[in-house]
């Protein structure tokens, strides 16, 4: 069986106690352990008290980090305990990364010692989040140190929708001009969003973009307009998140959404396990596809039960 890095209750106690005193080192180290472990080695118990996990996604340069900084400010100053996971792409060539989201958030962290911000590299996973994001968000939730976890994805294209597997709420950040009629009918990211944000509303065309989005927004709760560099419109987004969280809790939607994710979790772990095993098996290039698949699955299954 796959081994598990279980977070025992006494380990969690230590994280919580230290975190409350403003010493983030133990929690940060625990995040590293999860980040560096393959998913089948990590098993994080469910938190007794959920916190609102909000994904912030959208095209590169739309202002996601600046907006996240402003949301930190808005939520924290309203008494909320905020954690942020900020994901940037890893270089496919070197495997390294420059994680630049934090730069935009630094000013909002000064004087707010209860805010925890962690940058993550995508490490080759697709869909604009890191493979470990889900488990790290769960660890943050389990710590009980936060009311809200904001996750900034890598600058995402239409099809990069993995954030829905992680977040209770997906905010799609666009800018004027990007949300025109053609874009809005496209499938993908637009479909999984729970609310749209037209950032850079100081630029021309914001009202029109918001109107297009509203027309296309079948299931979306709201379309917000923000100017992240000035902080305009950010409190409205915050209040919208409060309202949404209340309704998710009240009508049982959260439970349903989360149960759905716990179900798909096993499938994702199994997929990762098989891919990992497949990479380690010498396959005969002349064998039939059927035989090769058979070999991979048997070997994956054998190793798992070991």
């Amino acid at each position: 069986m796959g081994r598990s890095t279980l977070f025992e209750s006494d380990q969690i106690e230590t994280l919580v106690a230290k975190g409350r005193e403003g010493h983030w080192a133990p929690l940060a180290r625990a995040v590293t352990v999860v980040e560096n472990s393959p998913p089948w080695e990590v098993s994080i118990p469910r938190a007794s008290r959920p916190c609102h996990i909000v994904g912030i996604t959208g095209p590169p340069g739309a202002g996601k980090s600046t907006l996240t900084g402003r949301l930190i400010e808005s939520f924290a100053d309203d008494g909320q305990r905020v954690a942020v996971l900020a994901i940037d792409p890893s270089s496919p060539l070197s495997g390294g990364a420059v994680l630049g989201d934090r730069v935009r958030m630094e000013t909002y962290l000064n004087g707010r010692p209860g805010v925890f911000v962690r940058s993550l590299a995508s490490r080759g996973s697709h869909g604009a989040v890191a493979g470990s994001t889900r488990n790290i968000a769960r660890l943050l939730e389990l710590s009980g140190l936060f009311d809200i976890v904001l996750i900034e994805t890598v600058g995402a294209g239409q099809t990069e929708v993995a954030i829905v597997e992680v977040a209770d709420t997906v905010l799609l950040v666009t800018v004027p001009g990007l949300g025109d009629a053609v874009q809005t009918i496209k499938a993908g990211l637009m479909e999984v969003a729970d609310a749209f944000i037209v950032n850079m509303a100081d630029r021309p065309g914001a009202a029109e973009t918001a109107r297009h989005l509203r027309l296309a927004a079948g299931r979306v709760d709201a379309v917000y307009k923000t100017v992240a560099i000035e902080g305009t419109g950010v409190d409205q987004v915050r209040d919208g998140m409060y309202a949404r969280w209340r309704s998710l809790l009240e009508d049982g939607q959260l439970e349903a959404r989360r149960l759905d994710k716990w179900g798909s979790d096993a499938a994702l772990v199994a997929e990762a396990w098989v891919a990992d095993c497949a990479g380690a098996i010498a396959l005969d290039p002349h064998a039939t596809m059927q035989d090769s698949v058979d070999k991979i699955l048997k070997e994956a299954s054998r190793r798992w039960s070991r």
């Binding site: 010493h23 070197s94 390294g96 990364a97 420059v98 994680l99 730069v103």
Partner: protein, 141 residues
């Protein structure tokens, strides 16, 4: 990946610019060189205080702190940071300083707890090699 780091997760490096020093070219050159050697580099931006730099090191769980200073204020900032790292149980961080550091200051910096100093003109391959070789020593030990 060098043989020393093969199989291990990427090194996490925080590159920070303290105080009123807007010279960010060197910091960015170094950040890119480290990325190209497979490290994960968090850049904090300019105008950081020792407290905000410590916060980044702790929250990011960095293996390496690289301070870039071209304003002449390196002694004070490095001394404060060494004290903060000790107070916050992050003595295991590899702490390197670069920029316009007069050669005679290198020993003073090392006295505070800085591990190595890299002046103008250092080939990036040299600092990459130093960091790959020396990071995580304390953590693994």
């Amino acid at each position: 990946m060098t043989s020393a780091t093969a199989g291990l997760p990427p090194l996490k490096v925080v590159i920070a610019k303290p105080g009123l020093d807007g010279h960010d070219r060197g910091a960015k050159v170094v950040a890119r060189a480290l990325r190209d050697s497979g490290m994960e580099v968090v850049y904090t931006g300019i105008y950081q205080s020792p407290e905000s730099i410590l916060r980044a090191v702790v929250q990011e769980d960095a293996d390496v702190l690289g301070l870039s200073s071209l304003s002449g204020a390196h002694l004070e900032y490095a001394r404060d940071l060494c004290a903060l790292l000790k107070e916050n149980d992050r003595r295991d961080v590899l702490f390197v300083v670069g920029g316009t550091i007069p050669p005679e200051d290198a020993d003073t910096l090392k006295g505070y707890g800085v591990h190595e100093v890299f002046g103008p003109g250092t080939p990036t391959a040299e600092l990459v090699a130093y960091i790959s070789r020396n990071a995580r020593q304390a953590r693994l030990a």
